[in-house]
Amino acid sequence: MTTTVTASGLGLRYGGTRALDDVSLRLTPGVTGLLGPNGAGKTTLLRVLATAVPADRGSFTVLGHDPGTSRGRHQVRRSLGYLPQTPGLHPDFSAFEFVDYVAILKELTDRTARHREVRRVLEEVDLGDVRGRRIKKLSGGMRQRVALAAALVGDPGFLVLDEPTVGLDPEQRMRFRELIAGAGEGRTVLLSTHQTEDVAMLCHRVLVMARGRILFAGTPAELTARAAGRVWSSTERAPGAKAGWRTGTGSFRNVGDPPADAELLEPTLEDGYLLTLDDVSAEAAA
């Protein structure tokens, strides 16, 4: 598969903290998930890749353009869709007007084609019926979808989504997954999230980040495989477990290093993710 986004040695400091520490990655068409605890540097990485903030060191290219120059950044932005974590919106605009405004800023100058495109993305995010309503009258989920529509408008080749499913109800989240999965067909989508099931269901690749570094890059299956043989069931709380909780059946589900005679369970992506984070903090402590 062709590589659409490559980054090498990206670094960014905020005051004394290293938000990004020598981050290198390659993205291919399809949805790539970005997992990590709070403060891992996910949003910073997304903002750098979306050209919203320049990195201190390192370089990256998007669809063959280098955003390290004014011209290159301009080229990147022409094929970019970005949904920030807390998107600001003009509350007095209608949904249509706002997306149209962003479309104009994305240099879609042909009026008829642009309006058709705005209507298309609003339909796509299921806001066709309320496109004339002012944003301040919309619900939280609807606002989130207006922002997604603004990111999708102009059919960008590279889509950066920062926790788009936060605050949505299960049905809306399901609808969002559909949208993102659809957007991932033929495009490169980088999706930051806390929801491991989002990654499991949507992504063909996954990155795990902590403390400004990429800890894991691979397929969701590979991440899940990291927990193979490290999830087991017991009747009592196991002392050696990194994490353990009583499940609905009354037995304990434990993640960590199992005793010899343990009854092993099928691992999930979340188990792999937790163990990846845990291995690194154990390394750091050692």
Partner: protein, 222 residues
Amino acid sequence: MVEVGRRRSGVSRGLVVAVGRTVPWRVVGVGAVVGLLVVWLPRLLGGTPDAWLGLNLLRAAALVFALGLAFLLDDPARRLTTPVPTRRWARTGLRVALVTPVAAVWWTAALLLVPAQSRPPVGPVTLEAGATAALALAAACVVVRFTEEPEPGASVAAGLLTFALLAPALIPSRWDLFVPVGDPAWAAAHVRWAAVLTAAVVTAVLCAPEPVRSLRSLRAAS
């Protein structure tokens, strides 16, 4: 990728209209109206201001209008609109260009509201008003350039007001800017006003483009 619409760089009619809608017209309008009220007040009360009052009313009006202009670069959707192909200087420049004719009409009205006999020399006082407005815009540009604040207007307006109130007290008399009409220092003061205007415009222009590199990487490179 589907090609939607024709893409071309530069300023289109659609862009002018769209950016025009995002200009905080309400705040600029309130500044303009209050500014006119300030100048109109003596007529409202049935008096005729003297030359000193006429000059200072126009200064106060220019300051009020500039306080409105401090909000010109406010963009609640800044996080979303930063990574768009339309360049920041184009968006900023367009906002300034859209508000300039309004400012010109407003200032003419303000001048006309001051009775002719108490109206200060139009050229110099226009220079003062222009420099005040340019200072507000330059301050807004600086905040936008160096912070990620989407709506810097309130801070800029508060700062400008504090500066305007402190300046007469703090500026040493040999660099005085606030000179009454007929004072021997009038001409020299307006050379200084021109310098303020130039400095403000240069600052605004320098801060208008979006930085491609971070400050730290520039420092590391040099």
